[in-house]
């Protein structure tokens, strides 16, 4: 009897940002912005080789420790509702190995002048359960970094 080889999980992350949904949405739509906040730490790097933010469009990026971008990520946009929702599939590879595929939903909801963001990552990991924890840690750190995009530039000046 053969064994199952795919691990499924659902990760839900919620954040509230001090900006209206249009601004938070734009931080996802713009690959230049994503390169600023998308890397999980100062020692990690995220580079976009291709960015095509539209339904059916494909983003190709590489990420990993600075100088060693070992992961290749293909993100295909499936559903986009401006300022409200982005649904995409994300394939993570290392060399020729496919590590995981995710269905990712990002919802933006206005709360007064702020935005409540809910990211749902429905992931299928191939063989390595560490991909689940790794995916959650990566998205969680990136969403924390995103808050810095909305700090008023005059603050503390």
């Amino acid at each position: 009897m053969t064994e199952r080889s795919v691990i499924h999980s659902t990760i839900v992350l919620e954040r509230t940002y001090d900006a209206v949904p249009a601004r938070v949405f734009q931080a996802f739509a713009d690959p230049e912005a994503r390169m600023r906040w998308g890397a999980p730490s100062k020692t990690a790097e995220l580079v976009y080789d291709k960015a095509d933010f539209r339904v059916g469009g494909l983003d190709v990026s590489r990420c990993g420790p600075r100088g060693s971008l070992i992961y290749r990520v293909e993100n295909r946009y499936v559903d986009i509702v401006p300022e409200q929702r982005i649904v995409s599939t994300e394939l993570v590879c290392e060399g020729w190995d496919r590590l995981s595929v995710s269905l990712i939903t990002i919802e933006f909801q206005p709360v007064g002048a702020s935005t409540r963001l809910v990211l749902t990552d429905q992931i299928a990991a191939f063989g390595d359960k560490d991909m689940i924890a790794g995916s959650e840690a990566g998205f969680s750190a990136a969403l924390d970094n995103l808050a810095a995009e909305f700090v008023p530039e005059t603050a503390g000046a």
Binding site: R4, V6, H8, T89, L103, Q122, A124
Partner: protein, 154 residues
């Protein structure tokens, strides 16, 4: 303005078939074979079925069931391990309305002379157009149709 919503869900369906994993895999991966069982029971002859079975390849199944509007199943194959695993993402559209986006994993496990199929479907159901329960029911019917096809071929 349309009220936007997303409902996420996961369901798992299992079936046992009296055919080897290689035969079940063939029925899932060969376009001519798949066409014989992968059909809407309410619209058994799709107007269009295209299938490019390779990683990154697409499948389109378009038809016009009883509600009068075109239904589109648009899939992309994400991972393939012959005789063992097929992973694909798909969207379902009713007319121009996107009803859902899903990630489907099919695992084939040898069980005696037969195969246990485990299908895990992770779905995002958009704007209340369809439900996970309905999809689970329809997917179960398709896997029963696959079983009937495999028994005919045996």
């Amino acid at each position: 303005m349309t009220e936007r919503s997303v409902v996420h869900s996961t369901f798992v369906i299992e079936r046992s078939y009296p055919a080897s994993p290689a035969k079940v895999y063939f029925a899932l991966s060969n376009p001519a074979a798949k066409r014989r069982w992968f059909a809407d029971p309410h619209d058994p002859v799709p107007s269009r079925h295209e299938m490019d079975f390779r990683i990154g390849g697409k499948e389109v199944n378009a038809g016009c069931p009883s509600d009068g509007q075109m239904h589109f199943f648009n899939a992309v194959y994400q991972d393939i391990v012959p005789d063992q695993r097929i992973v694909y993402s798909y969207e379902l559209l009713f007319g121009e309305t996107r009803v859902s986006v899903s990630l489907a994993t099919i695992e084939l496990l040898a069980e005696g002379d037969g195969t246990r199929l485990v299908m895990t479907e992770q779905g995002a159901f958009l704007d209340g157009h369809d439900t996970s329960a309905t999809r689970e029911h329809g997917t179960g019917e398709l896997l029963d149709a696959l079983g009937a096809f495999l028994r005919e071929e045996a």
